[in-house]
C-alpha cells in the first residue's frame, strides 16, 4: 500500500534545507538581528547613568542586570521567530512536511538562539567588566548565560508559536512567557552571586543543566503542537 517515492527526502536533508534557509534569510535581514543586541547594550550602559555609578553598588548589581537585560533582549526578538513564516505561508509547508515537526522547530529555535543568544553571551564579559564585576566571575556569568538563554529561547518559542496567528502577539508572548522564565533568571543570577560569595556553584549549575535538558527535550513538542493549532486556524 505504502509505495514510497524513490526521491523521498530523508530527515537529515530536510533539516539541512531548513538550516540553510534560516541562516540565509537571517543574513538578508541582519539589521533585525542587531535590534536585541543594541537593546542589551543600551540598557546596561544606561543603568549606571540612571542609578548609581558607584563601583561597589555596580559590582553587586552586575549579574542581575546582565541577566535581566539578556532575558528582555531575547524576549524582544521572539515574536519574529515564526511570524514571517506564518505571514508568507511557509509555516504551512513546514507543518505539511512529512518529517517530524518538532525536530524542524528545534532546529529553528537553536538557530534563533545562535543568532540572538550567542552574541549576547559574547558581549556579556565586556559589559559585566564595565559594571565592575570581578574578572574571576566572568566565566561563571557566561556559563550561566550559555545554559540559560537557550531555555529562554525555547520556552519563548512556545509563546511565539501560540500567538503567531494573533495580531498583537508581541505583548502576549511576554505575558505568557516571562513568568515561566523566572526560575532561569533566579538560578542564573543566583549562581553568579554564589560565586561572588565564595560558595560552591556546582549545585546551581546542576539545576540549570536540568532546566536546559528539559527545555531541549520537551519544548519542541509543545512548539510543534502550538504551531499546528495556529496554522489550522
Amino acid at each position: 500500500m505504502s509505495r514510497r517515492n524513490h526521491s523521498e527526502q530523508g530527515l537529515l536533508s530536510v533539516l539541512g534545507v531548513v538550516l540553510k534557509r534560516e541562516f540565509l534569510s537571517a543574513y538578508r535581514s541582519r539589521q533585525e538581528l542587531a535590534n536585541p543586541l543594541v537593546f542589551f547594550i543600551i540598557v546596561i550602559v544606561l543603568f549606571p547613568l540612571g542609578v548609581s555609578p558607584e563601583p561597589v553598588f555596580l559590582s553587586k548589581a552586575a549579574a542581575g542586570l546582565v541577566w535581566v537585560a539578556a532575558l528582555l533582549a531575547t524576549m524582544l526578538s521572539l515574536d519574529r521567530l515564526f511570524q514571517s513564516d506564518y505571514d508568507d505561508g511557509s509555516l504551512e509547508q513546514l507543518v505539511l512536511c512529512a518529517q517530524p515537526l518538532y525536530l524542524i522547530v528545534l532546529i529553528k529555535s537553536l538557530i534563533h538562539w545562535s543568532l540572538t543568544g550567542l552574541p549576547l553571551i559574547m558581549l556579556s564579559p565586556f559589559l559585566a567588566t564595565m559594571l565592575h564585576l570581578e574578572a574571576q566571575h566572568l566565566p561563571v556569568l557566561m556559563l550561566t548565560l550559555l545554559m540559560g538563554t537557550p531555555v529562554i529561547s525555547l520556552i519563548g518559542g512556545i509563546g511565539a508559536a501560540l500567538t503567531v496567528s494573533l495580531r498583537s502577539g508581541g505583548i502576549l508572548i511576554s505575558l505568557l512567557v516571562l513568568p515561566l522564565t523566572i526560575p532561569v533568571l533566579i538560578f542564573g543570577t543566583g549562581t553568579v552571586q554564589s560565586s561572588i560569595d565564595g560558595l560552591s556553584v556546582a549545585g546551581h549549575f546542576s539545576i540549570m543543566g536540568m532546566m536546559l535538558a528539559l527545555a531541549l527535550t520537551l519544548s519542541p513538542f509543545a512548539i510543534a503542537a502550538a504551531l499546528k493549532i495556529s496554522v489550522s486556524d
Binding site: 526521491s7 534569510s25 538578508r28 505561508g89 504551512e92 512536511c97 518529517q99 489550522s232
Partner: protein, 209 residues
C-alpha cells in the same frame, strides 16, 4: 476500479456558527481533476485545508487509499503537494532559494532541475533577484514552479491562477492535464473558466439539509 486515492466521507464543517457544508462526500481517483466551485465564502479553501490536513475541526472522514488519513498521515504527506493561497514564497530569498527550500522539504532535486523549472514558469534571468523585488504574478510563479518538479500523487491547489497572465494560465492548464494523464489526482479552486478537458466540478455553497 481500484479504491479511490482520496475519499471524503460525509464531511461536515461549521465555521463561526455558519454551516459551510454538511454530509459532503466525494471520491477522487488517480488521474482526475476536480474543481471546487462556489461563491466566495462557500468553504472551498476550508475544504482544501481539510483535505490537506491543515484544518481539523470537522466531522466525517477523509480516506487516503482506503485508510483514514489521520492514521497514515506521514505517508499521506509524502504524497501531497499543497499550494495555499499564501504562496509560501519568502521575500528575502531569491526564487532559486525559495524553490530549493520548498521542494527540499519533500524530495531531493538536482540543481539543474530547479533552474529548468524556473525557466518553465518564465522566471529565467530572475533566479538571483530577491523575491521582494518581483511582481505579485512573478512571486506566484515561484510557488508554481513546484508543479514542474513535484513527484506528489495528490495535488491540492488553492487559487493558483491568481495574478497569472493569460498565457501563463494556458501553460499551467496544459501542465495540469499532462500531470493528470500521468496519474496525479488534482483538486483545485479557481474563478477562472478552465479550458481543460475532463474536469469534474463539485459545487459548494448549497447546503444539503
Amino acid at each position: 476500479m481500484s479504491t479511490a486515492l482520496l475519499k471524503a466521507d460525509k464531511l461536515t464543517c461549521e465555521r463561526d456558527d455558519r454551516l459551510l457544508f454538511s454530509g459532503l462526500s466525494f471520491e477522487l481517483f488517480s488521474g482526475e481533476v476536480l474543481q471546487l466551485e462556489g461563491p466566495n465564502g462557500a468553504g472551498k479553501t476550508t475544504l482544501l485545508r481539510i483535505l490537506g490536513g491543515l484544518f481539523s475541526t470537522f466531522e466525517g472522514v477523509v480516506n487516503w487509499k482506503g485508510q483514514d488519513v489521520r492514521q497514515c498521515y506521514s505517508e499521506f504527506q509524502q504524497e501531497l503537494l499543497f499550494i495555499g493561497h499564501k504562496s509560501s514564497v519568502k521575500a528575502t530569498l531569491t526564487p532559486l532559494e525559495n524553490l530549493r527550500f520548498l521542494i527540499g522539504l519533500q524530495q531531493s532535486v538536482k540543481e539543474g532541475a530547479l533552474w529548468q523549472a524556473l525557466e518553465c514558469v518564465g522566471l529565467a534571468g530572475y533566479e538571483h533577484v530577491l523575491c521582494r523585488n518581483l511582481s505579485a504574478g512573478q512571486k506566484r510563479r515561484v510557488a508554481l514552479a513546484r508543479l514542474y518538479l513535484s513527484d506528489a500523487k495528490i495535488w491540492v491547489l488553492d487559487e493558483i491562477f491568481t495574478a497569472i497572465d493569460k498565457k501563463g494560465v494556458a501553460q499551467l492548464e496544459a501542465l495540469l492535464v499532462e500531470k493528470a494523464q500521468s496519474g496525479v489526482a488534482i483538486v483545485l479552486t479557481t474563478h477562472h473558466e478552465l479550458a481543460m478537458p475532463g474536469v469534474r466540478q463539485l459545487r459548494l455553497g448549497q447546503v444539503s439539509e
